[in-house]
């Protein structure tokens, strides 16, 4: 019997679980995918927004500014790279200048520190590569960048190190509340019982809410396509460069990532399909065109990958974080669109306060450890650190991914450390294996071999991302030559 079951191991679910792991509680995360961070948390703009964009007085505004302020300590505890590179919104004409003024006022009302408007020339002095057509810009120094799946993995891992259980492949399809206890049933018939349930199912939070008996939510996906560029473009800008926002979102941004790449995107398109993460020729062309408007010199031939993220939007255009109106012992978290990543730490903190009000006993653990031991990052170490690491374990001397300088030792750690990776993409998200410019051409065969060995499975059973995504179909020499 769990005290709390968190449905969904995205950034919100993982941070809620971590927050709960401070207390003497039995907590679990139920995740339908094979890994954490597989929905919106996997593919988004990777921005910790300053908070000037949200309507004053909204839940969003409160959570964003608070979440932003919490990020330094959180990132440090979880050993996740986080950088306050600052945000800059470009104005190209008089109408934009008006919008910048509105954003400035909102920023001030929302309590965003240091937000100001600068002239076009001042903007170019800060960012020499932005367009010569920029006439003014809003600058918010508290804006930052973080890797969203890395943050989620680290939060889930730290929660697990502090006793939280993670059940992957657990898609909640049925729920009953009887005698003060929730029973959650998975698609393959497994059951988990919990006194309290937190619904952090992101893009599917309305469907999960309905399964739990709350039918008054609706979430719809907003597709956003992105282009990720080679490291040689990573220094084109230092701030996150926005264009003026519209009803459809914050516009196409150009931003460095914490890993030194340059990210362009997203497009913004409302669709009903919640699983359609295919990219389109039109979408990618739009990203390229609009990003070039902000930063004309960006080399679009340096693309190393493209992807589509699905934001989880609600018609209310605000976060909903509340005890269920219809069901007992249930907290609903839904409509977590942008700035959800920035707000996640604050949402987690707030959810725990709601649980306390609902009567969950919060007795602090004596041995809670907020710090997570990260997978060593060979590529970021100096010679002495590398020497020491290889002396401890020779596998840290074997480079598997040449482009990103990832060692066999790191891959092995990714397969065993909380939350363990089960597949190639899981290893990639934890170590950057295959994330470089060769797209895994050289390292995939070796990475597959290590995964098979460490998991004790035949190479043919290694998958790209769980389910039916097997990388190999059989052995050579055994093909059917009669077909």
């Amino acid at each position: 019997m769990m005290d709390v079951a968190v449905i969904g191991a995205g950034v919100v679910g993982a941070l809620v679980a971590r927050e709960l792991s401070r207390y003497e509680l039995d907590v679990c995360m139920l995740e339908k995918a094979d890994d954490v961070a597989m929905g919106t948390s996997k593919a988004n703009s990777a921005i910790i927004h300053a908070g000037f964009d949200c309507q004053p007085g909204s839940v969003m505004a409160r959570m964003n500014v608070r979440g932003n302020a919490m990020m330094d300590e959180l990132a440090q505890q979880l050993s996740v790279p986080f950088k306050r590179n600052g945000s800059m919104v470009l104005g190209f004409n008089e109408e934009d200048t008006g919008t910048l003024q509105v954003l400035l006022e909102r920023g001030i009302k929302n309590g965003v520190p240091g937000v100001k408007i600068v002239s076009g020339d001042e903007a170019r002095a800060l960012e020499p590569n932005v367009s010569g057509e920029v006439v003014a810009a809003l600058v918010a120094p508290s804006g930052g960048i973080v890797c969203p799946y890395e943050l989620t993995i680290a939060a889930a891992g730290n929660a697990m190190d502090n006793g939280v259980q993670l059940f992957t492949g657990f898609e909640v399809v049925e729920a009953h509340f009887e005698n003060g206890v929730w029973t959650l049933v998975s698609a393959d018939g497994n059951e988990v019982q919990a006194k309290v349930v937190v619904n952090a199912a992101g893009l599917f939070s309305d469907r999960v809410a309905a399964i739990l008996g709350d039918t008054d939510y609706h979430v719809f996906p907003r597709r956003g396509e992105y282009l990720l560029l080679d490291r040689d473009q990573g220094t084109m800008v230092s701030h996150t460069i926005f264009q003026c926002p519209s009803a459809m979102g914050k516009g196409i941004l150009v931003t460095p990532t914490v890993d030194g790449n340059l990210l362009l995107g997203p497009t913004s398109e409302n669709r009903e399909d919640r699983e359609d993460t295919a990219t389109t020729a039109e979408g990618l062309a739009t990203v390229a065109r609009l990003a070039s408007k902000s930063v004309p010199g960006v080399n679009l031939r340096a693309v190393i990958t493209s992807f589509t993220g699905l934001r989880s939007c609600s018609t209310a255009h605000d976060f909903v974080i509340e005890p269920s109106k219809n069901q007992p012992q249930l907290v609903e978290i839904t409509g977590i669109e942008s700035p959800g990543l920035s707000s996640a730490p604050a949402i987690a903190e707030y959810v725990v306060s709601l649980l306390k009000e609902m009567g969950v006993q919060l007795k602090e653990k004596a041995d809670f450890n907020p710090y997570r031991r990260p997978i060593p990052r060979f590529r970021e170490m100096d010679i002495e650190e590398r020497r020491k690491l290889i002396a401890e374990d020779a596998r840290f001397g074997q480079i598997i991914c040449r482009c990103e300088t990832v060692t066999a030792g790191e891959i092995v750690r990714a397969l065993h450390q909380n939350p363990p990776a089960h597949d190639l993409d899981g290893v990639k998200r934890r170590t950057r294996t295959g994330m470089g410019r060769c797209n895994g051409g050289f390292c995939t065969p070796q990475a597959v071999e290590i995964i098979a060995k460490e998991l004790g499975i035949p190479a043919e059973q290694v998958t790209k991302c769980g389910g039916g995504s097997r990388l190999l179909v059989g052995k050579a020499k055994e093909g059917d030559l009669d077909a």
Binding site: A476, K477, E478, G479, L481
Partner: protein
């Protein structure tokens, strides 16, 4: 008379000359476009009884690699390629293997041996 002209790409060497072969009633008459005598011979063989070198791998037991690359020491009839593959796939040889070692003496009755093209050491 039913003279026909067929165009071929010579595969004897990487130059890949375009050959024009004149045939009469299924019989080879002449070739142009070749830059060496081997090309002329290729054209004739290709039009009458084409032959290919087969390269593949065979299973190895107890070696530092699971497979050893092999090739036919000379060309074999093209129509036998898949039959030859069946024979190649059925073979498993023990390590150590040395380069040039004969793996199959006479591949599918062609009289052409299959040889290993690298060393494999025992583990």
């Amino acid at each position: 008379m039913s003279e026909t002209i067929r165009e071929l790409t010579c595969i004897v060497c990487p130059i890949g000359c375009t050959l024009k072969v004149t045939m009469d009633d299924g019989k080879f008459v002449s070739v142009t476009g070749n830059t060496c005598p081997r090309g002329a011979k290729y054209a004739e063989t290709e039009m009458t009884a084409p032959r290919r070198v087969l390269t593949s791998t065979v299973k190895v037991s107890g070696g530092h690699l699971p497979l050893c690359p092999v090739r036919t020491k000379g060309d074999i009839p093209k129509e036998l390629l898949f039959e030859a593959m069946r024979a190649v796939n059925a073979v498993s040889i023990p390590a150590p293997v040395s380069i040039g070692q004969v793996v199959i003496e006479d591949l599918c009755g062609t009289g052409v041996p299959l040889i290993a093209t690298r060393d494999i050491h025992s583990v």
